[in-house]
Symmetry: C2
Subunit: 111 residues, 2 copies
DNA sequence: TTGCGTTATATAAATAAAAGTATAATAGTA
DNA sequence: TACTATTATACTTTTATTTATATAACGCAA
């Protein structure tokens, strides 16, 4: 019987999500493309949904994740803030180490 | 800014959930009360939902979690199978150790 | 034989989440 | 000035999930 460990990790503030895999992925794509719209498109998420997601996170966190530019050449765009980069980096390291830790624990107990 | 780590752990087989916190809790209550209906009632879950949940898990796992008795004194009831006990025990140990591991990791990286 | 509390099961209703649509505002540039 | 691709925002529609309702079968006990 091949069972597999699954898990989800995220960060909350006052009982509300403020960071997780979804935001991490979107922010990486914003970093690369320079546009929230393109980032959303890449993962087949509607722009409005992506926009609401980021807006909610920012509101809860109390700081901006994106530096926006509306209009202008190429219509504008978005870039990461320093605080966004810091959060991403910490979450990535945590996620990576957690993955190793959980999987070795799982093997120890279930195999 | 007080951020809090949150996580969810569960076991899958062929991409479908076969065990997690919910089932663990219900099975504990069945063990104590001798009845799936009472177990469901305790956590304000409809009996049909609890029944479907357990039935689906059993189907996916390929073995029974409950020994059922229909009719008879007190209408019948349900008891845990040995395999259910084993799964519960392993998952509990895993969960407990994972909790410690994740939280110390979280402190190390986020604090 | 009737009542009881359970398991077993299907179906409907309600709620929540996700996805989609529409439109305004913006500021460089051709 | 007209065009462009973006951010910003409000709604509507659709889908998925959860919850509720209803009913049958069962077997012991009074």
């Amino acid at each position: 019987m091949i069972l597999k460990l699954r898990y989800k990790l995220w960060i909350e503030k006052d009982g509300e999500k403020v960071f997780g895999d979804g935001p991490l992925d979107i922010l990486h794509r914003v970093e690369r493309t320079g546009s929230l719209r393109q980032a959303a498109e890449e993962i087949n998420m509607s722009y409005s949904q992506a926009w609401n997601l980021i807006k909610d996170l920012e509101k809860r966190l109390g700081f901006n994740l994106l530096k926006r530019k509306v209009g202008g050449e190429r219509g504008g765009g978005s870039q990461l803030t320093e605080q966004a980069r810091e959060m991403m980096m910490k979450f990535e390291i945590f996620h990576e180490e957690a993955d190793q830790s959980l999987n070795s624990l799982y093997k120890k107990i279930f195999k």
